[in-house]
Amino acid sequence: MEVKVNLIDVWKKYYLYNIFHRSLREDLVNLFKFKGNRNNLSKGEFWALKGINLSVKKGECVGLYGPNGAGKTTILKLISKVTYPTKGKILVNGKVAPLIEIGAGFHLDLTGRENIFMNGAILGMGISEIRKKVASIIEFSELEKFIDMPVKRYSSGMYLRLGFSIAIHSEADIFLIDEILAVGDEAFQKKCIEKILSLKKQGKTMVVVSHNMALMEKLADRILYIKEGKIVESA
């Protein structure tokens, strides 16, 4: 089977403090130093990921499970190219739809319908493609009545519904799903799970992050337990 996502010995360093605690003077000094300290930590730095190896095949659904701050979301961010690894290599083969945080691209002053266009384009859809899908997106979200209302007046559940509906309509090959099923009522949650399962049947590749073990077992082909930036166990 074709490998869709491949992480080879990936390390990621983060700063503990806000970057502005470093001064411009320090930065200028660092600029003239050789950048040989990739492997070591300086003051105020920590490893968010320590040598992650992960390969996901086409049509596979991998679950990431672990305590808060273990590095699950960082892995998703690396796959979606939002951030880059300090060391190691990441190969992604196909279009990625990050559902890292649903509705991240919403603008509060725009209506639901306008935000469908906005968010769809951010997820890489073309304008004509979105036009074709608008009706089906609205139908899936069950927000027909509120779709021309500015999203600042939406409840958080409505917000989630719209965001999920848009994301799920993207033509991506690889879906990154981060803890999005935690919100929303039971009926909608069920609908989402069914939709995810049907995407899986279509051969879409998925990486799912969740704290809900029962749900993960339902969705994922294998579950990786991540702790302090390392894959501790896989099942």
């Binding site: 970057i19 939002v82 991240a104 725009l110």
Partner: protein, 257 residues
């Protein structure tokens, strides 16, 4: 640059449309605001140099003279004002979804350009009212506009990227743009200045652009070709370097912002 943006042209269009609709959503006179800024500045300068400090600046009608400088200047200053904070304003997108980041400053520039087009209508109106004789030299306006565009794009790439790292950039540009205004021949012409002063002012690329934009439209004078080539070379080099810096710093935007 083209290759990176090819698949995202729709996103670019939607960003422009969004900026525009948000800006004028709850305003009653809408796009007229785009004309108001250069118009009010023009009236102020005309008032000052006619009544407060009556100095002979030019033989052309003051209103027209000032407006011809304010038009490119407003494009420059509002483009920078929109684009420099554009990355930091969208931190919620940058930390979550990948797309070529330069789309954000570019859509700021595009919005300023639409304002510029609207404000140009008044310019055309003035040219007709004051019965200015148009010559073929007016075609120089487009290559000059191209220079202005490239210059604006370069500056906004570097400054918006730097602003992600140091918010000082936004604070500094606020007043630097004000200083820059006086170093640009908007309300004066470099024609009557000494050669030494001219050379100093030409260190500012906007001097060349703004002065020649005025000459080719209302004075019917052409642009000296070798000077244009030097300027072109200069702004294109600047663009190349700025884009390099942008691409280099982009990788850490999400971690730093």
């Amino acid at each position: 640059m083209y290759k990176r943006l090819k698949n995202y042209q729709h996103l670019f269009l939607i960003f422009i449309w969004r900026e525009f609709s948000i800006r004028y959503k709850q305003s009653s006179i809408g796009v007229l605001w785009a004309m108001l800024q250069p118009l009010s500045m023009m009236l102020l300068f005309t008032f000052v140099f006619t009544y407060v400090m009556p100095i002979k600046i030019t033989d052309y009608p003051y209103m027209l003279f000032f407006y011809s400088g304010l038009l490119p200047w407003s494009f420059f200053s509002s483009a920078l004002n929109y684009s420099i904070p554009s990355l930091t304003n969208h931190y919620n997108l940058i930390t979550k979804i990948y797309f070529p980041r330069e789309i954000l400053p570019f859509s700021g520039i595009a919005v300023a350009f639409i304002d510029f087009l609207i404000a140009s209508l008044i310019y055309v109106l003035f040219i007709i009212i004051f019965k200015i004789k148009i010559t073929l030299q007016i075609f120089w306006f487009l290559p000059l506009l191209f220079l202005l565009f490239v210059f604006i794009i370069s500056l906004s790439l570097v400054l918006s990227a730097l602003n992600v790292y140091y918010r000082d950039v936004k604070l500094a540009t606020g007043f630097l743009i004000q200083l820059w205004f006086f170093a640009t021949p908007v309300f004066y012409s470099i024609d009557k200045l000494s050669v030494k002063l001219k050379l100093i002012l030409f260190l500012n690329p906007l001097t060349f652009i703004v002065e020649n934009m005025r000459r080719c439209v209302i004075e019917g004078r052409g642009v000296i070709f070798w000077q244009y080539l030097i300027m072109l070379f200069f702004v294109l080099t600047l663009l190349y370097l700025s884009y390099k810096i942008f691409i280099h710093t982009e990788k850490r935007f999400a971690d730093v912002i």
